[in-house]
């Protein structure tokens, strides 16, 4: 099923929780709503589920306007961060509760519950109550409850946030696999950019109730349209350096005291003559090399596979991912080479990218 949001707005008094959002989700697509807490992503999800009613704008499932349709008639399955299992029912009763309300026959109910329980590896827990399960098991049951009703649309509200790191990794893969296998359109709310990047076909980045970008994970990573997205997506986060782009001898240079970096002509041209702009570069796109921009090691953070090195250049700092075998120590002089193809440039006023619109 396709989902389309048209000028969707939700206002509480004078506060806009969701502000004029337009986006379309294709049939079978996995879309992540990504943003910091309070950005309106969960509100948007609850609008789609029908728990909240839009102030203005429209929600369409396929071609049908859903604004006035109560949640129970929308045939969506939802998984909550808090699991939201019914504590007074057994796992089996939890799984079949939505089907009971839909008056599915008992035999089919049993069959579907069994199938989903097998699929999720919770078949041995059917007689237990949610209070007797671990967090991971509870989340599986919650997922199962959303699946047994055979929804047209799956909604996830930060479903993995309460799980420990290991479990999160395995559940992430499992949710992704189930969604592809069953081909159900899914919308997944998260504040974790890694989750969004790894699971989603497309990511909708939200901030302050507004849609900042809606594109594929690769595009979001390689061509961030705003400063916010550039800083939010990617770990460790992108470096930002305030520079001025000038043309010298036919070559564009990004300059600041103690820092001079030649730019690719097509990138430099976008930023030249604008006064101060913000240059962005990811830590993995800066290398410690024999020649380049000179700096001094300020902090070394071992991350295991890499060391994250904080290099001081004049009065600014750049984070660099470096090979741990280099054995860098505080105060060591280093020279850095910036990958010119990965350099981002942003307007400091509008915070929009100068390279991608």
């Amino acid at each position: 099923m396709k989902v389309r949001l048209e000028n969707l707005t939700k206002r509480w008094g004078s506060i806009y929780a969701v502000h004029d959002i337009n986006l379309a989700v294709d049939d079978g697509e996995f879309v992540a709503f990504l943003g910091p807490s309070g950005c309106g992503k969960t509100t948007t999800l609850l609008l789609i589920a029908g728990i909240y009613k839009p102030t203005t704008g429209r929600i369409l499932f396929d071609e049908r306007v859903m604004n006035q349709v109560p949640p129970k008639n929308r045939n969506v399955g939802m998984v909550f961060q808090s699991y939201a299992l019914y504590p007074h029912m057994t796992v089996y009763e939890n799984l079949v509760f939505p089907m009971k309300l839909k008056r599915v026959s008992t035999t089919e109910m049993k069959e579907r519950a069994q199938r989903v329980a097998d699929m999720l590896g919770i078949a041995h827990l059917l007689e237990r109550r949610p209070g007797q399960l671990s967090g991971g098991q509870q989340q599986r049951v919650a997922l199962g409850r959303a699946l047994t009703k055979q929804p047209d649309l799956l909604l996830f509200d930060e479903p993995l946030s309460n799980l420990d790191a290991r479990l999160r990794l395995s559940m992430r893969a499992e949710i992704k696999r189930l969604q592809i296998e069953m081909g159900i359109t899914a919308i997944y709310v998260t504040h974790d950019q890694v989750e969004a990047m790894t699971m989603a076909d497309r990511i909708a980045v939200m901030k302050d109730g507004m849609l900042q970008a809606y594109c594929s994970p690769d595009e979001l990573y390689e061509r961030p349209p705003t400063l916010f997205i550039a800083g939010f997506v990617g770990n460790p986060p992108m470096n930002f350096i305030e520079v001025e782009v000038v043309q010298r001898d036919g070559i564009y240079h990004a300059q600041r005291p103690g820092f001079d970096l030649p730019l690719l002509p097509e990138r430099g041209a976008q930023a030249a003559g604008r006064g101060r702009v913000i240059l962005g570069i990811r830590p993995e796109d800066v290398a410690i090399a024999d020649e380049g921009i000179a700096g001094e090691v300020y902090v070394v953070e071992p991350l295991g596979r890499d060391d994250l090195i904080d290099v001081r250049i004049g009065d600014t700092h750049v984070h660099v991912l470096a090979d741990p075998t280099l054995n860098l120590r505080l105060g060591d002089p280093v020279t850095l080479r910036f990958n010119p193809k990965k350099i981002q440039l942003f307007d400091p006023e509008t915070e929009r990218s100068l390279l991608w619109t």
Binding site: Y83, A84, Y86, P98, G131, K149
Partner: protein, 299 residues
């Protein structure tokens, strides 16, 4: 056991128990005296004595009201009706109103909550005269006033009228208690139920209510016991002994003119206490579960 109490050693626990035991002695002696005196002609301290002051004098005479005064069964039944009626009324209205106040945003919600609290703080005795006029006015309404079997009606000098007044006086406490229990239930569970296909009323009935069973049990117990024991309201608004309740009956034994037989008063008091004690034995599990943290972790 020591570990569960969070106390270091067995000895410390023992000292604590002894200290608590000593402090409890006066009230235990009080109850002991009541029990002993109901079977005695007189008592000297806790020792039953006969008319001449010698130990002995055990008798069942004080309990004779059970077979000589048919009115005792009548007033007991009335008390039971009052207690049950009060419980049903309070639980029904409180659980609906508490849900609405906890979950639904409607104009006047805050003011309503505030005034409810003020009403609870209002001593009911100051309302007696005003309520009298209300009940008398209700008496004038056909059928509703005094034409209903079992409870008589909702007017003056009927059990129903007393139930009505007592429900009203108990509601502030009940509503706040219920609201507190509803507040503890996560919104997500309710949202899940709505998405799974429930209507709002069904969510309340099938998903939310089962989770606050301990709260409902507590409110029921409190309501039942206060209905069973209530004296002031039935004493004020029921004039005829046929409709009277057990607490008012007890009061009638304490006449101003005749000498009071305290042993008989104690017997009636004990008789009144029996259902309460039975009730407690069967419901204390629920009461304990409230103090042990309510609904956490399922049932």
């Amino acid at each position: 056991m020591d570990d569960r109490l969070g106390i270091g050693s067995r000895w410390q626990a023992l000292i604590l128990l002894v200290a608590l035991g000593v402090l409890t002695i006066p009230i235990v002696i009080g109850y002991l005296w009541i029990v002993i005196s109901t079977f005695s002609q007189r008592t000297y301290g806790l020792v039953p004595v006969d008319a001449s002051g010698q130990p002995g004098g055990l008798t069942l005479r004080n309990w004779s009201f059970l077979w000589t005064d048919p009115n005792i069964w009548r007033v007991s039944l009335n008390s039971l009706i009052l207690a049950l009626g009060l419980t049903v009324g309070v639980v029904l209205v409180s659980s609906l109103a508490g849900y609405a106040l906890s979950r639904i945003s409607f104009p006047g919600r805050r003011i309503f909550l505030g005034t409810t609290l003020v009403l609870h703080a209002f001593p009911s005795i100051t309302l007696l005269i005003a309520i009298f006029f209300v009940l008398r006015w209700i008496s004038g309404i056909p059928v509703l006033g005094r034409g209903i079997p079992l409870i008589g009606g909702f007017g003056y000098n009927t059990l129903g009228g007393v139930i009505l007044v007592m429900v009203a006086l108990q509601l502030p406490l009940g509503i706040w208690l219920m609201k507190g229990f509803f507040d503890q239930i996560s919104w997500d569970i309710e949202r899940a139920a709505l998405i799974d296909g429930c209507s709002r009323l069904r969510t309340w009935w099938q998903i939310i209510l089962p989770q606050i069973r301990p709260g409902i049990a507590a409110l029921s117990i409190f309501s039942f016991i206060s209905g069973w024991n209530e004296f002031l309201i039935p004493y004020t608004y029921i004039t005829d002994s046929q409709n009277s309740t057990i607490a008012a009956y007890l009061n009638s034994l304490l006449g101003d003119t005749a000498p009071v037989n305290y042993s008989q008063v104690a017997a009636v008091g004990l008789f009144q206490l029996i259902p309460v004690i039975l009730f407690f034995i069967f419901t204390q599990e629920y009461l304990l579960s409230i103090f042990a943290g309510g609904t956490k972790g399922g049932t």
